[in-house]
């Protein structure tokens, strides 16, 4: 009975997740297709003489000559790839799906002459047959089948996935570290200040967590760079590298015990680079999580079963650890799971401040350099993780608390 309900719930939720993902893909793709810039604007901005054929070739290379809906379905599922071939007959070979060279007209707008695209130049239509017949056109498989397309700018003409793969380890490294630290610091802080409610300790923790959550991550990051990287170097104290994940060349760190030479790419080098970004992310998370744990702990400590446990004469330590904490952590588990999508989205600012070569930085660079396939890939990964995390946290809720039923 319970498993049947579970299966029904899962089917419905997966279906809903697919709809949410599709809608957000559609929305982001539409938005990005209206965004200015792109591979052509870069080429024209460096003043390379391009004739109409060059432009048509480049547009074909990046599929910019296709209509947006066609581009979207090709991006999503890799279709249409050409005319249908049924029973020895080509169906829809002449269907126009794009335009190689759009016609331009000059319009006067607000007293200025503006060049606008209007219709297609005669004989330059792209048909479904062209899609299949043109050998230079890339065969796409679609995001659903693991093909995220080609990067326009950051790694020109290389698969987006290569780029994502190269950045992924850095982000995961940073996130694992800061999540672990946040749990290790945040939970004890929250529990202790709940147990000692209204004590000086509680007061300090609550106030500090206010400071932590009011402190913008970018400002805190810059302050750390200022102090530990720039000033410490000036004062000849052991200083930290201001950014990046690995040093380009060996560097020396002045300490009280003489200069330490740190080899680029060594474990010490990597660890030293991680300190500041991890601290910034951890501080921000600890502020939120400790407050959350405190709140849920206070709630649990008021419950009857805690009073019963105390009345039975159990040690206070056992009451706190076994009876109260376990129940207080139920909602916290979902919060932690829910922070997983932040692996990609949430660290944009921190990674930018510290020049950390992770996914957030990549997304920001992709937007700045109009590399929309890369931006699109990251958006979809984040959206996917978000819906999965929501589902997992819903399921976890029922696992840790049997009273909650899925519906």
């Amino acid at each position: 009975m319970a498993t049947q309900a579970m299966v029904n719930f899962l089917i419905r939720r997966v279906f809903e997740m697919a709809i949410v993902l599709f809608l957000s893909a559609l929305a982001s793709y539409t938005l990005l297709s209206f965004a200015p810039g792109g591979p052509l604007s870069f080429l024209t901005s460096v003043q390379i003489r391009l004739n109409a054929d060059d432009i048509a070739r480049i547009r074909a290379n990046y599929e910019l000559d296709l209509f947006v809906p066609v581009r979207f379905t090709r991006w999503l599922i890799g279709q249409p790839n050409g005319p249908l071939y049924i029973g020895g007959q080509l169906i829809g070979a002449d269907v126009v799906v794009g335009c190689r060279i759009p016609d331009t007209i000059n319009v006067v707008e607000n007293g200025k002459v503006v060049t606008r695209e209007a219709g297609c130049r005669a004989g330059q239509d792209v048909t479904l047959l062209d899609l299949a017949a043109d050998p230079t056109r890339r065969q796409v498989r679609g995001v659903l089948f693991g093909d995220f397309g080609l990067s326009h700018q950051i790694l020109r003409n290389r698969p987006v996935w290569t780029l994502v793969e190269s950045r992924l380890p850095y982000t995961i490294q940073l996130m694992l570290m800061s999540t672990t630290l946040s749990i290790l610091i945040g939970v004890p802080l929250g529990v202790y200040s709940a147990v000692k409610q209204y004590s000086i300790f509680d007061y300090i923790v609550t106030t500090l967590s206010f400071f932590g959550s009011s402190m913008p991550t970018f400002f805190f990051g810059l302050l750390m760079i200022m102090l530990f990287a720039l000033y410490f170097e000036q004062w000849n104290l052991p200083h930290l590298p201001p950014g990046n994940a690995i040093a380009v060349r060996d560097w020396t760190m002045g300490t009280f015990m003489g200069d330490w030479r740190i080899e680029a790419g060594s474990l010490a080098d990597r660890a030293l680079h991680m300190i500041m970004p991890t601290t910034v992310l951890t501080l921000f998370t600890v502020a939120g999580w400790s407050r959350f744990v405190r709140g849920s702990m206070l709630e649990v400590l008021r419950q009857d079963y805690v009073r019963t446990a105390r009345a039975k004469g159990l040690w206070e330590r056992v009451v706190i650890a076994k009876h109260a904490l376990r129940n207080a952590l139920i909602p916290f588990v979902t919060i932690v799971v829910f922070s997983i999508p932040g692996v990609f989205g949430g660290a944009i600012i921190t990674e930018t401040v510290f020049n950390w070569p992770g996914m957030g930085r990549l997304y920001f660079d992709a937007l700045g350099r109009s590399d929309y396939p890369v931006a699109m890939a990251l958006l979809m990964i984040t959206a996917f993780l978000t819906v999965v995390a929501t589902l997992v946290s819903d399921i976890l809720y029922t696992v840790v608390d049997p009273r909650i039923r899925l519906s």
Partner: protein, 336 residues
């Protein structure tokens, strides 16, 4: 009152000399007293009031105009004296503009953006939430599904895309002249710069109303079951009258609390967008883009980020404390 009822011969009450009865304390006074008990909130409110006054009187207080620059006066140290005897109290920035003056004018813009964005998203949330909760039927599930959808897509990345598109098209977009003139007068910026400010506020509203609408819907759903709503309906009040005269006023307390806590988020969000270069652009000063410039010149002047970022932190902290105080005062049940 009880005494007058018991006395056999009723005498006129001596209003002037009557002692105040304890239950005569008004609701407003109770709320004020509860707020004043929160010391940090009171301090924060004073800080915010001071900042607001400084920012409102910007043209009279700031020694320089925000875009006034002197070629060659790059990165002057604090306390340097300009040719005409005016003092650069906090020095100058990378192209010779007075830092203190820019901070003051930037505050005017940053605070206005945050406040307008919060008011806008609260109003939108109230309207959508109350309609959704009140109408019910097919509207409510539809609206709530949309809210869930908006909350389940990653916000920051989308916000960045939209604002980067708007920034690149900002020349083409045009505001209606009265609005542009009003914003330009309010923020003391050229009318050509008003589009981006309004666009940023618009984006924040578009992404900020969901929480408030959920809260409002919940309130309306519970208020719908109250007897006074039933009474109003029995008396023949129209739906709009019930919504605007009964529902919204009764749901105000949590909405005000949510709005005052949300302000800090908008301060940080605006600063973050501008810091990333996707918010309000440079000649117009905001705390965020000043911090971004400070970052790029950190090698020359390491302490510059400290000056540009402190107001962001102070305002965000103060709004958080005031919000906490307002919550304690208006709705103590909400306290964690």
């Amino acid at each position: 009152m009880a005494t007058t009822a018991l006395t056999p011969t009723p005498r006129p009450i001596d209003v002037l000399n009557a002692e105040a009865m304890p239950e005569e304390v008004s609701q407003g006074k109770v709320i004020l007293q509860r707020f004043l008990r929160h010391k940090l909130a009171v301090i924060a409110l004073i800080v915010l009031a001071t900042i607001s006054v400084i920012v409102l009187l910007a043209p009279y207080i700031a020694p320089f105009k925000p875009t006034e620059l002197r070629v060659g006066n790059y990165f002057l140290p604090p306390g340097s004296v300009a040719d005409d005897g005016r003092v650069h109290w906090l020095g100058t920035d990378n192209i010779g503009r007075d830092y203190l003056s820019r901070l003051i004018y930037a505050g005017r813009i940053s605070l206005t953006v945050a406040i307008l964005a919060q008011i806008g998203s609260s109003l939108l949330g109230i309207v959508i939430g109350s309609i959704s909760g009140y109408v019910g039927t097919w509207v409510d599930p539809l609206v709530m599904r949309f809210v869930e959808f908006m909350l389940s897509i990653p916000q920051l990345p989308l916000l960045l895309i939209i604002s980067s598109i708007i920034i690149q098209y900002r020349e083409a977009l045009q505001l209606p002249a009265p609005l542009a003139n009003f914003i330009s007068w309010l923020l003391i910026i050229p009318t050509t710069e008003t589009t981006q400010v309004v666009a940023i506020i618009g984006i924040f509203i578009a992404f900020g109303w969901m929480g408030d609408s959920r809260l409002m819907r919940g309130m309306v759903l519970s208020l719908k079951e109250q007897t006074y709503t039933e009474a109003a309906r029995a008396l023949g009040s129209s739906h709009w009258r019930i919504i605007f005269r009964h529902m919204i006023p009764n749901a105000m307390a949590p909405m005000i609390v949510s709005a005052s806590l949300g302000l800090s988020g908008f301060i940080i969000a605006e600063a973050a967008l501008s810091f990333l270069g996707l918010g309000i652009q440079d000649p117009t000063p905001t705390w965020g883009n000043m911090l971004s410039i400070a970052q790029s010149s950190m090698l020359q002047i390491p302490w510059l980020p400290l000056i540009a970022g402190t107001p962001i932190f102070i305002c965000s902290l103060a709004f958080n404390f005031v919000g906490d105080g307002v919550r304690d005062a208006l709705d103590p049940r909400l306290k964690m």
